[in-house]
């Protein structure tokens, strides 16, 4: 398969109130994006357990996106503040494992930022296409 045709697998964790709404707004605005990403909806980005992220990598994801409301906008007071702390930890572990930093990204996207969501997906897909498949990808998973 040529590098051009290869579609990376990206898992995006989205919170119900902001970034999932941002993905919806991208749809409503018809902001086109590559079909590389699958969204896992959680109520709050604070729900995202580092284990979920590692699980995604171990199952074969080429990148994992952690997204939530802008700081201060969390529907559950401060869930995204906790996400930020956990993300720092995640980043350090991912570095230790030798995974490129592009494969794990954090972004705050509000429900009205459809265009931002789409361009985020476009950018990440582009970066991952350059990097190629994740080194953690198990055998037999494309």
């Amino acid at each position: 398969m040529s590098a051009e045709a290869w579609e990376p697998k990206i898992v995006a964790f989205c919170c119900n109130w902001c970034s999932y709404g941002g993905a919806d707004s991208a749809g409503m605005g018809r902001f086109q994006q590559p079909p590389s990403t699958r969204i896992i909806r959680v109520m709050c980005s604070g729900r995202i357990d580092p284990l979920h992220v590692f699980n995604a990598f171990l199952e074969g994801a080429d990148a994992v996106l952690v997204t939530g409301c802008h700081i201060g906008d969390c529907h559950y007071v401060n869930g995204n503040d906790k996400t930020k702390i956990k993300y720092k930890f995640l980043e350090s572990v991912v570095r230790e494992l030798g995974i490129e930093k592009e494969r794990l990204q954090l972004n705050w996207i509000s429900a009205s930022e459809g265009e931002k969501f789409a361009s985020f997906i476009r950018d990440v897909t582009e970066q991952i296409k350059k990097l190629g498949p994740s080194p953690l990808k198990p055998e037999g998973v494309s």
Binding site: F31, R38, V42, M43, D49, H75, A118
Partner: protein
């Protein structure tokens, strides 16, 4: 006094009013003349400016009306008269004979299939045929057949009778007669809508030619459920047109045929239809001939700009006088090109007449029979300070029956009318209603049996994603017992289909692959409940917003992705378990932020509904922007309106006013908020169940523009407004419109500035007819009945000059390039007035306190631009007035009453249901570390001392317990627990893990299931 209300008209206005009333404790009769509710919105393909699928957002409301225990729907019924007085009305209704027994008809459609008589289909605006016995459209409510007596062969000639023969449940009854009934109600709401203008009255436009069609017909051509399944073709030869022209203002802004009003919506629907047509066929060449483009609403200007820049739609500022049909039956339009001053003629393959909104016949008839006053335009008369109150106390009006308006303004008025009716009858609240009942839940089988329903959403999904392919794929997935496709999964017949499928196939999990759970999850959850399934056994797979709409050009990949999304939803749903909500008490009090007209109206309406209100205002006095207004559009004095309102607020013993106050802290949630107000240096605690944000906006200061600030003769429209109250002495006034608006820095239109300018121009001319007034404008946006002000101004000699290049302000004069004359004109001006838009106030504080979003211009972002204009996505917080976007006083008042109505749907409840998907602790694994207690912002977990018995040893240990009434289900504790003792139900690590796992299994690598799959498509 009766605790019931009659709502006349089942379009979106009547639907919203009925739902609000029924949800706040009143028995509601919804009376619709046509066989189904839905009104004109049901015929629309998309809605501007988001291009949301109209049926997709309307259909859940139709279904809700059909299944609401407190709404009695009288379809195919006409209201003959209304008599009585506020609190006790008698409404005479004729239930027209539909020749089908509603109670017996199942809507199966056998009769329609066999009926030999074909009639022009009004749903498709006469462009296709339907049968004489028919169900008007797929999502119709009620879903029962109606016989068109004028065309039925049996009823007209005594022959045929086939429908009766084929009807299984024996519902057809040729002997049925019209039946008159009388309803006793406390209040009446008129939502009789509008009638599309009949363009055959304007012979010059050649509506007799098959390729000259109305905008409503074009809307049907664009729709997947339309006569051509969404393919735009010519009526004459079925060919695909290449060049299409829209002619605006057909039946609007035309005093010669007694249509002086602007219809408010045509500029935007023409823009929308053009964009959709271009999306269908990018090669299309579309031209819109217009007088002014009136893109005045929230995000309309941005939409108009996108139409030009992204879609290449051509707007020509000229009104062709006629449609020319040549000897070969080809169409062309002649127009004056103002750029070159030439007369041009262009050929078009199709001409679309953007028809206006006429008052409906039923509005006129009902006004006559019941003595309700009409205005000069034939709309139901209201005052600008009482926009939903008719001439009869206790009878209210909403929507286009009150004047042309778009859907969000209609929905806001509908809720406003509901607030007024509910306030009138507040003592009778709850006396005539019953609770919604669901069947008992069926015991859950240990093995998951999943049903998958894949929606085409007309062509929204189906034109990109290969839906049958997804269905076939779904059938191969583990635990899937049933799969099928649906045209619109959200329609009422689809709910029946889903319920039947659950029943027949013994399904215990349901996956619908359609649109976003943010709008449609509750609808399908209720369907599950009606089929005896716990609502938490349902999952939506979003293959529209997240797939078909964002991969429009990659159909194969989109289909693969849709399969993947379904696969993930199926994997996750197999693990779902039933969950239950808790009932907790609520605080039946409201908090209103902002003491302007909107805030005061909202506070009064909530108080009149019987609930206590705290109203806070940042300034010393109530009144907001109206304090600085010196005359209203209808000539009334603002102080008359303001004094009455302020007086009523201060005298109302349910309203507590706090001046010089601001909210500094909020915690809690829907039904149970606690806040701190800082008023005059003192901290005042406040408890409330719902809040209304009415914080208004402020005038833009055009510092540095057009010599403002340098030249004392350059002032703003707001300053002129104040000066006019004191009397000015300028002889030559020049107003410049769109200062600081519709530009790169501030893309939106200020909505009110044209109307303000025209109003003040008229005032100057009336005070001194010898003075000269020039208005330099880009588009005059005196929409709706405000067009009259514009007409008055021209009659009084105000001179309007359209500019495309910014005018130059010099000391004593203004130089403008007149695009019509193509020359520079110097206007002697001793006063230059800059019309500036309203801009957002300091909304960030409230945005942070309530976690409610702002749009890109800093105004508050409502939950949905069309159907939830005064709601926030956050439950229990509502929005009104210019805090949402600039608006006129009458519109702010409508919205304020609407916000009050929405708040009352909460305040009137006896209890609030908590979140069902809460977190739970596995005590055996809990080590009592207290991390969850530290993490939770709601104090839901607490450490309890429990006795642990292990083998023969008993000891006391600390274990966490989560109070389900306090838990909001965010799942932060589950993510933080170091030993994995906490499960965030419905979003458990196992469920999330299954979904991730499903993603990584490649499509097609799933092992096919053994055994047979019972699947019907």
């Amino acid at each position: 006094m009766k605790g019931s209300v009659a709502v006349v008209g089942g379009g979106i206005a009547g639907i919203q009013a009925a739902l609000d009333l029924a949800d706040s404790g009143f028995k509601t009769y919804l009376i619709e003349s046509r066989p189904s509710i839905g009104g004109v919105m049901s015929q629309l393909d998309k809605t501007f400016p988001t291009n949301d699928c109209a049926m997709c957002i309307l259909s859940p409301k139709l279904v809700e009306i059909g299944r609401h225990p407190n709404i009695e729907l009288l379809s195919y019924s006409d209201v003959k008269s209304i008599s009585g007085e506020a609190g006790d009305f008698k409404v005479k209704v004729v239930k027209k004979a539909r020749y089908v027994d509603e109670a017996k008809c199942t809507g199966c459609g056998s009769c329609t299939e066999k009926c030999p008589s074909k009639v022009l289909d009004e749903y498709n605006a006469g462009m296709s045929k339907r049968k004489s016995i028919y169900i008007p459209f797929a999502q119709a409510i009620p879903r029962v057949a109606t016989i068109d007596a004028a065309h039925c062969l049996y009823l007209t000639k005594g022959k045929c009778g086939v429908c009766k023969k084929v009807c299984g449940p024996k519902a057809v009854d040729y002997e049925m007669k019209d039946k008159e009934i009388e309803l006793d109600v406390g209040s009446v709401i008129l939502a009789t809508g509008f009638k599309p203008f009949d363009p055959s009255l304007l012979k010059q436009y050649r509506f007799d030619h098959p390729d000259v069609i109305t905008s409503l017909q074009f809307e049907r051509l664009l729709s997947a459920s339309g006569p051509t399944q969404g393919h735009v073709t010519r009526q004459s030869d079925g060919k695909v047109p290449k060049r299409i022209a829209f002619i605006q203002c057909v039946g609007s802004r035309n005093p010669r045929i007694d249509r002086k009003h602007c219809s408010s919506v045509c500029c935007m629907y023409a823009t929308k239809e053009s964009i959709i047509a271009k999306e269908h066929d990018p090669e299309l060449d579309i031209t819109i001939f217009h007088i002014d483009i009136r893109a005045f609403g929230k995000n309309f200007e941005e939409f108009y700009n996108r139409a030009q820049e992204e879609y290449g739609i051509r707007y020509i500022n000229s009104r062709p006088p006629e449609t020319i049909v040549d000897a070969r039956n080809n169409l062309s339009l002649r127009y004056e090109d103002f750029d070159s001053g030439e007369l041009k003629t262009e050929a078009f393959d199709m001409v679309i007449l953007s028809i206006g909104l006429d008052p409906s016949d039923s509005t006129r008839d009902l006004a006559q029979s019941s003595g309700i006053a009409l205005d000069d335009f034939g709309n139901i008369a209201t005052g600008i300070e009482k926009p939903v109150e008719t001439s009869i106390s206790g009878v209210y009006v909403c929507g286009a029956a009150q004047g042309p308006k778009d859907i969000p303004d209609t929905v806001a008025q509908a809720s406003a009318a509901a607030a007024k009716a509910a306030a009138l009858l507040s003592k009778e609240r709850g006396t005539m209603i019953k609770e919604r009942e669901f069947p008992d839940e069926k015991p859950l089988l240990p093995e998951p049996r999943i049903g998958v329903f894949v929606c085409h959403c007309g062509i929204n999904i189906g034109s990109v994603v290969n839906v049958p392919d997804v269905v076939e794929y779904a059938k191969t997935l583990p635990d899937v017992a049933y799969a099928r496709e649906m045209l619109y999964a959200c329609s009422s017949d689809s709910q029946v289909t889903i319920k039947d499928a659950i029943e027949k196939n013994n399904l215990n999990r349901v996956v619908v692959a359609s649109c976003t759970p943010r709008t449609h999850e509750p609808l399908f959850q209720n369907t599950c409940r009606e089929a005896g399934l716990n609502p938490y056994l349902f999952e939506l797979a979003n293959i529209r917003e997240h797939c078909s709409w964002v991969h429009m050009k990659e159909k194969e990949k989109a289909t693969e992705k849709a399969k993947g999304i379904v696969q993930m939803a199926v994997a996750k749903s197999a693990l779902f378990q039933p969950l239950y909500k808790q009932k907790v008490p609520l605080i039946n009090k409201a908090l209103v932020l902002g003491g302007g007209v909107a805030g005061m109206t909202a506070a009064l309406d909530i108080a009149d509904n019987g609930y206590e209100v705290t109203l806070i205002e940042k300034e010393k006095e109530l009144g907001g922007m109206l304090k600085h207004t010196t005359e209203l559009y209808d000539g009334k004095k603002p102080s008359d309106v303001l004094d009455v309102l302020t007086c009523r607020v201060y005298e109302n013993n349910r309203i507590r006013v706090l001046n010089e106050a601001r909210l500094t802290k909020v915690e809690g949630y829907l039904g149970n908020f606690k806040g701190i107000i800082l008023s005059k240096g003192e901290e005042v605690p406040v408890d409330f169940g719902a809040a209304v944000v009415a914080t208004g906006a402020r005038n833009f200061e055009p510092v540095g523009l057009f010599n403002y600030g340098k030249d004392a003769h350059v002032i703003t429209q707001a300053q002129l407004e104040r000066m006019l109250g004191e009397g000015i002495s300028a002889n030559n006034t020049t107003m410049i419109q769109c200062v600081g608006a519709r530009n790169k820095d501030r893309e939106y239109c200020g909505r009110t500035c044209c109307i303000d300018a025209v109003k003040n121009a008229v005032r100057i001319k009336r005070a001194n007819s010898k003075s000269s007034v020039y208005v330099l404008y880009r588009d005059m946006r005196t929409y709706g009945v405000m067009e009259r002000l514009y007409e008055d101004a021209r009659e009084l000699g105000v001179i309007f000059i359209k500019y495309t290049r910014d005018p130059e302000v010099q000391y004593g004069s203004v130089v403008v390039h007149d695009s019509m004359l193509n020359e520079d004109i110097e206007i002697a001006s001793d006063l230059v007035v800059l019309s500036t838009p309203l801009v957002a106030g300091e909304n960030e504080v409230i945005n942070q306190l309530f976690k409610i979003p702002l749009d890109k211009n800093g105004f508050f972002l409502e939950a949905h631009p069309k159907l939830r204009p005064v709601d926030f996505a956050t439950d229990g917080v509502f929005l009104c007035g210019s805090a949402q976007a600039p608006k006129l006083m009458s519109e702010a008042i409508s919205q304020a009453s609407a916000a009050a109505s929405r708040a009352c749907t909460i305040l009137s409840r006896e209890f609030i249901e908590t979140e069902g998907a809460v977190s739970v602790v596995d005590e055996a694994r809990c080590i009592g570390c207290g991390t969850c207690v530290a993490v939770c912002p709601y104090n839901a977990p607490s450490l309890q001392e429990v006795t642990v018995t292990s083998e023969e040893v008993s000891y006391i240990a600390k274990k966490s317990r989560i109070n389900p009434a306090a838990c909001k289900g965010c799942g932060s504790c589950a993510a933080a627990c170091p030993v994995g003792a906490i499960t965030a139900q419905h979003f458990s690590s196992k469920e999330i893990g299954e979904a991730i796992d499903a993603f990584n299994k490649d499509i097609g690598l799933i092992e096919p299931k053994t055994g047979t799959v019972e699947a019907v498509v």
